[in-house]
């Protein structure tokens, strides 16, 4: 029988006879309701303030008000925490150290998350290796929220359950006669050991790795020379001379990021490193060189040989076969050799993938004593380990039908390996571990979608001795699986990767049970035992060294190349095309050509003229270029646009890799042409290129800069190192960094003094200033992407960029020198019109300058005075503010801006899928997760521009205020300054006399852009110093 529980209502009920209880039992309302008082008293009612009519009015009003309030749009898709995680405070970002590795780029990163969403990638500056984030790594946050990622496992086009498909694949692998795992270079020590072990115990299983842009030849050279198949690490921070022969070491050389070391080596002093570059396509490195020599790819080897011979001669060593060069290049090589001899420390790089080149480069560095000083033979990079021979053998086996099961681990060989597609068709069972249905995975039987790197645990050994640990930053968005866990499962191991990883680390990497949390926190662990691989060898171990070098020399000396030569290069934005579907990267202008959304055949002006090809501007300025069909290594690519590139060697052309994807996603599909199909034997160049003009119409470029020279204007100031060291910056108008003065009745005045304006008080409080060092800026564009991510800058697509409507708040202007200047005009008696016309043409062998330009935050801002509604105003802290919701969009401010940094929202760029579908950061519910919640997404019709990351300034000030202290120098960083690897961009409070920025403001090299306009910007530049002989 159920027991009826009795609940006591109060203590009184316990007493046997309580007067209160009695009273309550009889009387429902313990105290009298004053009904009579209210309604009985007619007099009072009549005299009441609230009449019946008032009452009805109030009733009516409150009902209406309540009804109206209820009409407010419900907040959709905003889900509060039920149980809030301890570490997550709404509005406060969390930073986590992690790894970024996509098979090509590796970086140790710090990821900013807001309310559990990773929204911004920064470099982990504490990391000992690649603690830098280039443009591609910066953009990775957006790729996480790419809706074209695969959302569940797929077999033959049908969604399948993970457990069953993994069991199936694992069974297939076990029973196959030959199963092959094809991957890119695997840098995870954990999984690579697991694979090796599996390989050892299963004779039917083989692991082959390859790199999209092969360095196999170079790796073979190192194998031969040192017994270990790994490229060296470089330390160029102390060198006095950098000689690069065709190597773009500032973008991608051996996977190591050398930008910050490059900048360190070029600190201004008499020891500033000099940089000499021999190359065919104008590269990022070449554009920063103090001396740049145009050579053909085939001549690069010869230059190397010539330098070796010169050095050997000087050192009394035996010379090799003689180089095959014309007198001028011979002289350049000899001069370079002379400089190398003189330099205290130096480094020589060679580009391409020729084994004999690398041997000779090694030999040169050895002659110069650079081994283990700048070329770290004992510290090897592990970022490139692909083996072309193994790959070629695999393709042969596949064609012969000998491969039963092929596992394609996050690679895309159908796209980037010539002839792979046909071979793949002959494999019975193909499994792709991929993040999307790309060119390769779409042709596989089974596609196993993997986590994005930010959803997974990962470890890496990118270089000897440095272990990196990456933690997940967000729960997996889709029904995907950790890539390593898939591999383990395929190999029959069903453990969770986290457990596996942790146990591997504790037993193999970390000292006894220690340091896991610390390693997760730091993102890296420096191991005492620097080598994992056994049997390390150094150059001494090689007995036939001289023989190897001599035969390489001979090989080079007898090499023949004919016709036009082509080199394949990577753009700073696209690399090898892994992040093709990233609209930020697609819209990032190439540092040199400033074209976005494209690759093209770069060609010298004279060559183009010879072939009857041209670049022209249409009536709205946009660039058009002729199209050609090119035949390289027997393959023809049709309709390749031609871009006339100053600095390109005559007789050569260049074509960027990483474009022409067909199944990357809506942003990446059909942008440019696929250069990978032209690559043969992993070589980065080829000769005998046939170029024929296509019959079709001109190609339409989306180029953000249409004029390439400074037109003789004082825009980028430049001095030679000699002048910088020995001459005064200011000396009564004779120095190298003088301010323009105006003759007035009060004498010669600068624009600051000769003005009619009332000055703002910038002596008290903060005065935020930004310094940009033009010597240090290498133009890489990481800041451009950082700005995109931080400030929700819209991507507008190719057509709009073509209409000169790119929205970049921060752009990097690139100027080429021209053969014409005022002196030449004066000497040649050339009139002004002809002079200016000639000035528009860049030199065929130009010097290059990069100049990042963002809002200059003028303290006498032309934009502020002209806005009719005061939507742009000045702050007490030296910033030029933009009040978006006040802006009515007259564009007067943009017209009156001498720097042309203001950007207008011509259309609705967000939630406008009809027009701006490619910009999924703003037009896709998932993509929008990347938006920075601290920054307004601007609506159509308003003006926007750089705010000097005002949200960060405010955050920093608030943090300092909460702690009751002044803002520390360096505590607040703009996104661009933070992203800058070379330290070219510096931000701070100029009123803090101890701050770095205050010192930079007093620097001899400091100047304001367009100082004579009298705008008094808060942004200033540091004169570029070129180390010219």
């Amino acid at each position: 029988m159920a027991e009826v529980k009795k609940y006591w209502k109060g203590l009184e009920e316990l007493k046997e006879s309580s007067p209160i209880m009695d009273n309550l039992r009889q009387n429902e309302f313990a105290s009298e309701m004053p009904v009579e008082d209210f309604l009985g008293n007619g007099e009072m009612l009549a005299g009441a303030q609230t009449s019946r009519r008032d009452f009805l009015k109030y009733l009516g009003f409150s009902t209406a008000a309540a009804a109206l309030a209820a009409c407010e749009a419900p907040i959709v898709e905003s889900i509060p925490y039920v149980v809030k995680p301890d570490s997550v405070l709404p509005g406060v970002p969390n930073y986590y150290a992690s790894n970024y590795y996509d098979g090509h780029d590796f970086a140790s990163i710090l990821v900013k998350t807001r309310e559990g969403r990773p929204i911004k990638v920064d470099a982990n500056r504490d990391a000992p290796f690649n603690g830098s984030a280039n443009a591609r790594v910066q953009a990775a946050a957006l790729s996480l929220y790419d809706n074209s990622r695969l959302k569940s496992a797929v077999k033959e086009g049908q969604e399948v359950e993970w457990s069953s498909i993994l069991a199936e694949v694992s069974k297939e692998v076990a029973k196959a006669k030959s199963a092959v795992l094809l991957s890119n270079t695997i840098i995870s020590p954990t999984i690579s050991e697991a694979i090796s072990e599996f390989e050892l115990t299963h004779s039917n299983f083989k692991h082959i790795s390859y790199d999209a842009l092969s360095l196999s030849g170079k790796l073979d050279a190192w194998q031969e020379l040192t017994g270990r198949r790994a490229l060296p690490c470089y330390n160029i921070s102390q060198v006095g001379l950098i000689v690069s022969i065709g190597a773009d070491f500032l973008s991608d050389y051996n996977g190591q990021s050398m930008t910050s070391d490059y900048s360190k080596s070029r600190e201004l002093s008499k020891n500033m490193a000099r940089h000499i570059q021999f190359e065919s396509v104008m590269s990022l490195s070449g554009s920063n060189a103090d001396k740049r020599v145009r050579v053909k790819p085939s001549e690069q080897s010869q230059v190397l040989l010539a330098i070796y011979n010169e050095l050997a001669k000087a050192k009394g060593e035996s010379q090799l076969a003689s180089a095959n060069l014309d007198a001028k290049l011979m002289q350049d090589a000899a001069n370079t050799a002379k400089e190398l001899m003189k330099a205290s420390a130096s480094v020589v790089f060679v580009g391409g993938n020729k084994k004999e080149d690398e041997v000779l480069c090694y030999a040169i560095n050895k002659l110069l004593g650079n081994l283990d000083r700048s070329v770290l033979v004992s510290k090897r990079s592990r970022l490139r380990a692909g083996n072309d021979k193994a790959l070629n053998q695999l393709i042969a086996e596949m064609n012969a039908g000998k491969v039963d099961v092929l596992i394609l681990d996050s690679v895309n060989p159908v796209y980037n390996v010539r002839g792979f597609e046909e071979a793949l068709a002959k494999v019975k069972y193909k499994v792709a571990i991929a993040d999307r249905l790309d060119e390769t995975s779409s042709k596989s039987n089974v596609v196993l979608p993997m986590h994005h790197g930010f959803e997974s645990w990962s470890d890496a050994l990118p270089v000897d001795g440095v272990f990196n640990l990456g933690q997940p930053l967000i729960r997996p968005l889709f029904n995907t699986m950790q890539r390593e866990e898939i591999l383990l499962a395929v190999m029959g191991n069903s453990s969770k990767y986290y457990d596996y990883l942790r146990s591997y680390w504790s037993s193999n990497i970390l000292p006894m049970g220690m340091g896991w949390n610390q390693a997760v926190h730091d993102g890296f662990y420096m191991s005492e035992k620097s080598e994992i691989e056994a049997g390390e060898a150094s150059s001494e171990l090689v007995t036939n060294y001289d023989e190897i070098v001599a035969s390489s020399g001979k090989q080079i000396s007898t090499a023949k190349a004919a016709g036009i030569e082509i080199s394949f290069y990577q753009k700073a934005s696209m690399g090898v095309g892994i992040l093709s579907n990233n609209p930020w990267l697609q819209e990032m202008p190439d540092p040199l050509t400033r074209a976005s959304w494209d690759n093209y055949l770069t060609m010298s002006a004279s060559q183009a003229k010879e072939l009857g090809l041209e670049n022209s501007n249409t009536s709205n300025g946009s660039l058009n270029g002729s199209k050609v069909d090119i035949t390289v290594n027997g393959i023809t690519l049709t309709e390749v646009p031609v871009y006339i590139q100053p600095g390109q060697t005559y007789g050569t052309v260049g074509l960027a890799l990483g474009y022409g994807r067909t199944m990357a996603g809506k942003a990446g599909n059909n942008v440019g042409v696929n250069a990978f199909v032209l690559l043969q034997d992993g070589m980065h160049s080829a000769s005998d290129v046939r170029i024929e003009k296509s019959a079709s119409d001109d190609h339409e470029f989306a180029c953000v800069q249409l004029h390439h020279t400074m037109m003789g204007r004082d825009i980028v100031r430049e001095v030679t190192l000699d002048t910088f060291l020995n001459k005064p910056a200011k000396a009564n108008g004779e120095g190298w960094n003088e301010r323009t003065t105006y003759e007035t009745y009060e004498g010669a005045l600068t624009s600051d003094d000769a003005n009619l304006w009332k000055d703002f008080d910038h002596k008290t409080g903060h005065f935020w200033n930004l310094s940009i060092d033009l010597t240090k800026c290498i133009g890489c564009g990481a800041c451009v992407i950082a700005c995109h991510a931080e400030n929700n800058v819209p991507v507008v697509g190719k057509d709009e960029v073509r209409r000169s409507r790119d929205m970049h708040w921060l752009r990097i202007d690139r100027y080429f020198s021209s053969d014409m200047n005022e002196e030449v005009a004066q000497e040649g008696n050339i009139g002004a019109i002809d002079m200016f016309n000639a000035m528009e043409e860049p030199s065929e062998s130009p010097e290059v300058v990069f100049q990042p330009v963002m809002c200059q935050h003028c303290n006498h801002a032309p934009c502020e005075t002209v806005c009719p509604v005061a939507a742009t105003t000045h702050s007490a802290e030296g910033l030029n503010h933009m009040a978006y919701n006040r802006c009515i969009g007259t564009r007067y401010c943009a017209n009156n801006c001498p720097y042309k940094v203001r950007r207008f929202n011509w259309f609705l760029y967000h939630d406008n899928q009809d027009q701006f579908d490619v910009n999924y950061a703003m037009n896709d519910d998932l993509g929008k997760m990347v938006l920075n919640p601290d920054v307004t997404v601007r609506s159509r019709g308003v003006m926007e521009k750089c705010s000097m990351c005002i949200q960060r300034i405010q955050y920093g000030k608030l943090e300092a205020k909460k702690e009751g202290r002044p803002v520390a120098d360096g505590e607040i960083q703009t996104a661009c300054a933070q992203a800058c690897d070379t330290g070219a961009i510096r931000f701070g409070d100029a009123n803090d006399s101890q701050s770095e920025i205050a010192k930079l403001k007093k620097d001899d090299r400091m100047y304001h852009l367009l100082d004579e306009v009298g705008t008094q910007p808060s942004v200033f530049y540091q004169t570029k110093v070129r180390n010219k002989a």
């Binding site: 009536s619 249409l706 009515i888 259309f907 159509r940």
Partner: protein, 462 residues
């Protein structure tokens, strides 16, 4: 002794008497419009509707539908704005300034000139509105009490001055025009037979009774308004020019702009009056009222202001060279020799060279020639604004941002739309309003002079 003083050429030909004037002025209103009117009206209306469509498209989609870009933030929009404002100037000049100077010849043309002013100011006023990115917030430009904190407009901005200048100009012009219309409306009211017409004109004529007191007040108000309107002739375009002159862009930042713009405005305004009146006098058979003399007078004004404009162009070039400022020098060199040189030389040909032909009396009294030149001048003046705005912006300080501008069909559509709108208004006006200020005109009718004499002669009396 009978002395006959030498008399001036009469301002009205054809021995009109008061009744003739009344009848002839009222004729277009009281009769059905001719076919030519319908054709013109249909074309204008189509253009107008096309323009409306384009404006709605712009407002619905964004300014991106125009050809503008990050470097050239204004182009056809402000070109059209300045052009239409400029055209408006002639009306005010004719009706106000010439009234103060007692130039009686203005009487035949001032009504239409003023109508032209108002209609063109309407076109002009459209552009600052629709060129805004967010036109629905256009009220932000008015200094009205608001609850956005203590947000006020920016009195430093020439664009704000524009708002005041244009709205003042428009309201004063409308009032001035309307006051002049009152006696004429009363005339129409008195003649109207149809009840609706009668009713409408009764309302429009404000109970005009033609009493002496009415006339006295009419004269006084006209004079006062003329006094008010006169400075506006100078101020409006001065302020418009300051949009450019107060900026820092080479080619805009020019102190010569205010007088140069005013001269240009009068120049283009008179040209537009010519264009309109030459058509109108033909269409409405008003050759006796708008005579060759009028046309010649206006041509002289065109020639004079055209020369002033020419001097201004040359002064600009000289100052650019003389200033020694490299940006300024390049801006002007680029105008004359750069990618928009065709626009510059079109402007030079139309504005500087073509009016010089008016030195020849035979040509300046030729109606067809005048008509062609009047159109040429307005093309030239449109190019002048285009040259100032676009060629200055497209290559300013930093060559990295240099680009070009090319109009889209929407830019062109809106421009054509305003032309259509203007003619729609003007054609409607021509059929409903007295196109000649007949009440004023009757004051200069030589009723006791030539016509009487002739009358006598014909009757044989001595």
């Amino acid at each position: 002794m009978h002395y006959e003083s030498p008399i001036r050429e009469p301002l009205i030909l054809g021995d009109k008497n008061y009744h003739d004037v009344t009848v002839e002025v009222a004729r277009p209103i009281e009769t059905a419009p001719p076919r030519s009117w319908w054709i013109a009206f249909s074309i204008s209306l189509l253009l107008f509707l096309w323009g409306v469509g384009n404006i709605l498209y712009t407002i619905g989609t964004g300014i991106g539908t125009w050809g503008l870009n990050k470097t050239v933030g204004w182009a056809w929009d402000i070109t059209n704005f300045v052009w239409w404002v400029g055209i408006g100037h002639a009306g005010t000049l004719i009706s106000a300034v010439l009234l103060l100077f007692r130039q009686k010849w203005r009487m035949s043309i001032n009504r239409s000139a003023e109508a032209m002013t108002i209609f063109s100011v309407i076109q002009a006023a459209l552009f600052p509105g629709i060129h805004m990115g967010r036109i629905w917030l256009a009220y932000f430009v008015f200094p009205i009490p608001n609850q956005f904190g203590s947000l006020w407009v920016n009195f430093n901005s020439p664009l704000l001055w524009d708002v005041f200048a244009i709205s003042t100009y428009f309201s004063v012009s409308v009032v001035f025009w309307y006051v002049g219309l009152i006696p004429d409306f009363a005339m129409l009211r008195d003649r109207a037979i149809k009840p609706v017409q009668k009713h409408v004109y009764t309302i429009l004529s404000f109970g005009w009774g033609g009493k002496a007191k009415h006339w006295q007040r009419f004269e006084e108000v006209s004079l006062v308004l003329a006094g008010l309107a006169t400075p506006l002739v100078l101020s409006v375009h001065t302020i418009v020019s300051m949009d450019f002159a107060t900026s820092v862009i080479p080619g805009w930042h020019t102190t010569i702009f205010p007088p140069y713009f005013v001269a240009g405005a009068i120049f283009s305004g008179f040209a537009m009056v010519q264009t309109l009146l030459i058509i109108m006098r033909k269409m409405f058979r008003m050759e006796h009222y708008i005579t060759i003399q009028h046309i010649e007078m206006m041509n002289i004004v065109i020639m004079l202001t055209g020369s002033i404009v020419g001097v201004a162009y040359i002064t600009e070039l000289f100052i650019a060279w003389y200033s020694g400022v490299e940006y300024e020098q390049y801006a002007f060199l680029n105008r004359a020799t750069g990618p928009y040189a065709w626009a510059y030389w079109s402007m030079m040909t139309c504005n500087v060279f073509s009016p010089q032909l008016m030195w020849v009396k035979k040509w300046r009294t030729n109606i067809m020639f005048t008509f062609i030149i009047s159109i040429v001048v307005n093309i030239g003046m449109w190019f002048e604004r285009f040259v100032i705005i676009v060629t200055s912006l497209h290559r300013d300080y930093l060559p990295s941002s240099w680009t070009m501008f090319s109009p889209t069909f929407v830019d062109i559509g809106i421009y054509l739309g305003t032309i259509g709108f203007f003619f729609v208004l003007f054609l409607l006006y021509a059929r409903t309003f007295p196109v000649i200020a007949q009440a004023e005109l009757k004051t200069i009718l030589k009723s006791s002079g030539e016509s009487q004499k002739k009358h006598h002669t014909e009757d044989g009396h001595h």
